[in-house]
Amino acid sequence: MNRGTQVVICRVCSEGAGLLDVDKLARVASDAPGVCSTVVVERACNKKTVLEIVDDAMAKEADRLLVAPCSKKEISPALFQTYAKKAKMNEFLMEAVDIIGEVTLPHRDDPTRVQPKAEAKLRSAIVRINMLEPLQRTEERMRTSNVVVIGAGAAGIEAASVASAFGLHTVIIEKSEKKIDAPGVVMPKSRLISAKGHAGNYILTIEVGEKRETLECAAIVVASGGDWREAKGPIVDELQVAKPLHHLEQEIGEGRLPGGAIIILDTPDPKGIRTPAQDFMWEEALHCATHIRRKSPTTEVYLVFQEMRAMGLAEFDYKEASELGVKFIRYDSKKPPKVDTKNGTRLIVTDMAQEETLSLAFDTLYYASVAPNPDNAAIAVALRIPISSSGGIRRGSIQRGPVATPRPGIFVCGTAKFPKSREVARLEGKAAGLMAAQFAAAGKWEFGGSVAEVTSDKCSACLTCVRTCPYEAPFIGIAGKAEIAIQMCQGCGICAGICPSKAIELHNYTDDQLSAETAAYLGGDF
């Protein structure tokens, strides 16, 4: 089967930093065993170039493709797919070597190391690609085409609307009792308890009031939203009158504008970690400040923040706010603002730019704080999807798009990931609804490929894989040995790594393949 490897060397990523000798890389490739064609192109991620590469692959009868130097994260999977289809190549025989991320950037201060390391990486990647097996995926029909949306916020409702416009049956699970106007079934006062099964056939256990119900669905959209966290930080604790920013938004929404002087204060992370929530709060604070100054010019508005970064269109808000006379005070994290307890309603803050200590009299203090939904952790555990350190649901790889999670058929949108404006949340809801609907409406789905497999003879049924797998893929079969449910397997390799009996291997990441790759990288001495 192993006919030959086509190595494509892309100039745009090689010469970007000016540290790589592309022709030398090409010579390394053409001298390597198993390589039947080496092509140097200007830009591999260009449709026209892809067609040229395909012609070359067909002419040289290559059955494997290696693209270097390419950032695996940024290469378009669509291009790989087009390539696979046109050149009739197995998708598991195509790889990219990330020389930029792993060689050029880390060694930019010591350029002498770049070329030899890049060559070693290329050699080891060629050894690896020559050893890859052409794996196949399996197809299965879905049992249902229902789409379940968790959360009936702006994003969730949008997702359900899009999915039901697709002609699918949608169910929204909402924890509050609020009245929701959305298509399909809405289950208020309900929450997700657990999930079994896999894409196309997820079986969810839902708590509705006091009862438990089972729901079958093909795809799930997580739109669990965010949470307005109550008092945070010493100042807010000290000041009984401080209110969270969303109260101000509510007051503005109801047409009640605060008078006198107001301060909007940030609530930075105590560990100094910058989170997307802070950027969002800054933009929300800008919106409120602009609105108040426009409608009620006599109200003094101070924004007291550690960081002021107006991203994208928020720059206009910042400009407008400063024109309207909103006062910005940036402070140093080492000199946090204090409340003057003697006079009660004064905030003492040192302005970072002027290095001047100000004493601001105010009537109301709002604190800008938003946190991810605390229920996210339970949802992530139930659906076995990852959660970020700031408590939001994490999306999968960038190749799958911004609303996909690592698990097939589960999508995430809106503030469930991190705080964002209603408009963006709604757009994401639309995207997630569409992705989920397309997935569910297909009626069948593909799985397998680079998944784990057990060699029964070596298995001692010690249950280590069963206990360790985050996706519940391994189970003990009728023969009393471990087996892998490949629908559940995400190809993470944890079981293969931990198996005490070395009975499990991950296809295309076997010990032999990894050792040969490492040995080639170290120059054969391993």
């Binding site: 001692s460 206990r467 005490p500 070395k502």
Partner: protein, 234 residues
């Protein structure tokens, strides 16, 4: 199962330092499952020793292999050639495996790669706890199914002692008090009267205190005739 832990790499390196040909032998049974001496750990040790030797510039021939059960002579016999070829055997099994090889090839030097620790229960992935000391005279039917010999630091038969506080042991506050656990279990089962039972001193001669124990099951033994036949067939 038997739970063991690998000795520190430095200690292992020191033990095998004088020898040129080292045969590292693991075991696929208990010590594989407790992630101490299976195929994976043998390969890792061979690699680690190879790296160490490379750094110090010495050559040492390291041969790694794994047996189904190192405590059984038949499995050991399978790799006799490789054992005889080597200068030292580094056993990555529990001490039973190491001693089996040592008894079979008394002229060979066998060094232990693992510290054999406990009869343990896997409480969760990566955690094993001691629950039996092998005293040879089980009494857990009178103690709510919890062994005070293994689980009480003082192996008390009539507990708890005065050092039990809030369910913890005075020997180490991170340990649970076995007798507190026994009381809770008996309460749950409605058998608290067993707490009042006075357990007389135990017959410790069934334990290791009576000297090395050998279990003989006469009905399972082969007759001298059968033995001869088996030996001949081999």
């Amino acid at each position: 199962m038997i739970v063991a832990e690998r000795k520190p790499l430095g200690e292992i390196a020191e033990m095998i330092a004088p020898y040129e040909k080292v045969c590292v032998i693991g075991c696929r049974s208990c010590v594989a499952i407790c992630l101490a001496g299976g195929e994976k750990e043998v390969n890792m040790l061979v690699s680690a020793m190879g790296l160490l030797n490379r750094r110090t510039g010495r050559t040492q021939n390291l041969d790694g292999l794994v047996l189904e059960r190192q405590c059984e002579k038949e499995w050991v016999k399978e790799v006799e050639d490789r054992i005889l070829e080597s200068d030292v055997i580094l056993s990555m099994s529990c001490s039973l495996g190491a001693q089996t090889i040592g008894d079979m090839y008394p002229e060979k030097i066998v060094v232990p790669g693992l510290n054999t620790a406990i009869f343990g229960v896997p409480e969760e992935q990566g955690v094993w706890s001691e629950k039996c000391l092998g005293c040879g005279d089980c009494i857990i039917h009178t103690t709510g199914g919890i062994c005070p010999i293994a689980r009480c630091a003082k192996s008390m038969l009539n507990g708890p002692c005065g050092g039990s506080s809030d369910g913890h042991c005075e020997v180490n506050l991170e340990l649970d008090c076995a007798w507190y656990a026994i009381h809770e279990r008996l309460k749950l089962q409605g058998r608290l009267e067993l707490m009042d039972m006075v357990r007389p001193p135990k017959e410790w001669n069934t334990s290791h205190s009576g000297g090395r124990r050998v279990i003989v099951r006469e009905e399972a033994r082969l007759t001298s005739h059968q033995k001869r036949a088996t030996e001949e067939s081999q």
